[in-house]
Symmetry: C2
Subunit: 299 residues, 2 copies
């Protein structure tokens, strides 16, 4: 499909793209740019077929696609490093979880006309690093592609083909639409999970109770989400802060309402809220967005 | 171990106790009192070795232990039904998730001197009904036993032996301590999950976005917890309302703080909160309170 591609950042997502690309014969040559010495060691140990770029002066021409799999706060620094590899035929994409702010910055600060089409595969977990990568990570998962007014249609087509080949189902969105939807389906849930764990820790400190020992009653699920990479999530919270702070207000208002229903013993309304909530779970399982097993099949 | 035991309510927990009791030869005879015709049908279909009590006038004497596995709001009604089976040697227990209020009611309203020792096995999932029961449900899980001042020590010893035999690890608590700890490790997490799903539904309605389709970014985990039985959770919220409303206030305060950290771009403090949170996850996995697999081992 390609002759040369470059993966920038080879952690969980980058190394999964690398593995899937090798498996699906996406490119004759795959270059990897990675700053972490630990990650480089792991990639070598895993014997993944790629060339790790060490010499910053090395020139590579005719790179078909560059995929940035790094923290949002590093994009501008990365662009400075990779500018020399970009020509008019190079598709530049990323896998970031927030879009509008960083895409705006790239358009403003990168003077050159580059073909920037942002991607967001809805895949990953609480662990980081190349050893957790998986060639099937994107299989059957949604991948959002950002379709701007000025998008290079040929490049969009190629990018669509790439993600489809490594297993993703494609959906097109605008920057705004993306950041809006994922604020509620991903960013607020993560923030709430972090806040739940923080609240439990405050409680533990104050009351000298052991929250770890009795976490299986519900808290433990939140701790998984709240074990996600802190730099990644700090970046997402700051990049999508407008949608997120609005979501926080909505969440707090609803929580106050539930508190009132409890204080006034409004059984009917409490039951109704919970019944509605159960329906969403059924829809998610039907839409194959989660496993159809009690307790996630966990034992 | 026993000659006769009676399980009242044979859903997920009741039927798991039934299965484990059969497996571990806990009692020569096991009676089941169950009001749901659907459940009775399922129990018969599963061919679980027990006698389902149908005739309300039937007298059974010398019952060693009665375990109530029903909603908290039904306890008083159930006590009226089972009083005739209780004598001075009968241990009466339950598996409820909130303790202080309902135990107080029982002591006040049930005039007779009965040996009431409350239990709480920290086990279960979002599904209900006997078909999901499992003889290993309690294996390696904590079971809290309420140790009152006036507890019958011999009975407490027997109850400890029973739960240990079906796989539980025992921990003793006072009513107050129980309701306090589980408000933060179980009740608030469930309430927060319901509130997250409610907030997402409000968002979906307002913005006409599809939250189900893109729920894999984090929201789906909350929908599992928020698919739990609505009567059970309404009862828990109302029974433990004092601790829960205090917990809600603490949660909202923390959420406001995080909102402020985002608005003021306080990267350092945001990162610190998330790093602390990650440590709790590690402790939970080390304490074997959750599986040691990314994403709960879900595929």
């Amino acid at each position: 499909m390609f002759k040369k591609i470059l993966i920038v950042g080879c952690g969980l997502i980058g190394s999964s793209i690398l593995r899937a690309s090798i498996k699906k014969k996406i490119s004759k040559k795959i270059y990897v740019l990675e700053k972490s010495k630990i990650h480089i060691k792991q990639i070598k140990k895993l014997r993944l077929n790629c060339e790790i770029l060490k010499d910053p002066k090395k020139r590579i021409t005719n790179v078909d696609m560059i995929i940035i799999c790094a923290h949002l706060s590093e994009y501008l620094k990365i662009f400075k490093k990779i500018e020399k590899y970009i020509d008019k035929n190079t598709i530049v994409t990323d896998v970031g979880s927030a879009k509008e702010k960083v895409s705006g910055e790239i358009k403003t600060k990168i003077k050159r006309n580059i073909s920037w089409i942002s991607s967001h595969p809805i895949a990953g977990s609480e662990v980081s690093g190349p050893e957790f990568g998986n060639e099937k990570l994107f299989s059957g998962k949604w991948c959002v592609l950002i379709k701007d007014k000025n998008v290079n249609k040929k490049h969009l087509q190629i990018l669509t083909k790439f993600w489809t080949k490594i297993g993703s189902n494609i959906v097109y969105m605008s920057l705004k639409e993306h950041d809006h939807i994922f604020s509620i389906t991903s960013h607020i849930p993560h923030l709430v999970a972090y806040n739940m764990v923080k609240t439990a820790m405050n409680f533990e400190k104050k009351k000298k109770s052991n929250i770890v020992k009795f976490s299986a009653g519900g808290l433990r699920d939140f701790t998984r989400t709240a074990a996600s990479n802190e730099i990644m999530w700090k970046d997402i919270f700051l990049n999508n802060h407008k949608n997120i702070t609005k979501g926080i207000d909505l969440f707090i208002n609803n929580m106050r309402q539930i508190k009132k229903l409890i204080s006034t013993k409004n059984e009917k309304k409490l039951i109704k809220i919970m019944q509605e909530s159960k329906k969403i779970r059924k829809k998610i399982v039907s839409a194959k967005q989660d496993v159809n097993l009690p307790d996630f099949g966990r034992r």
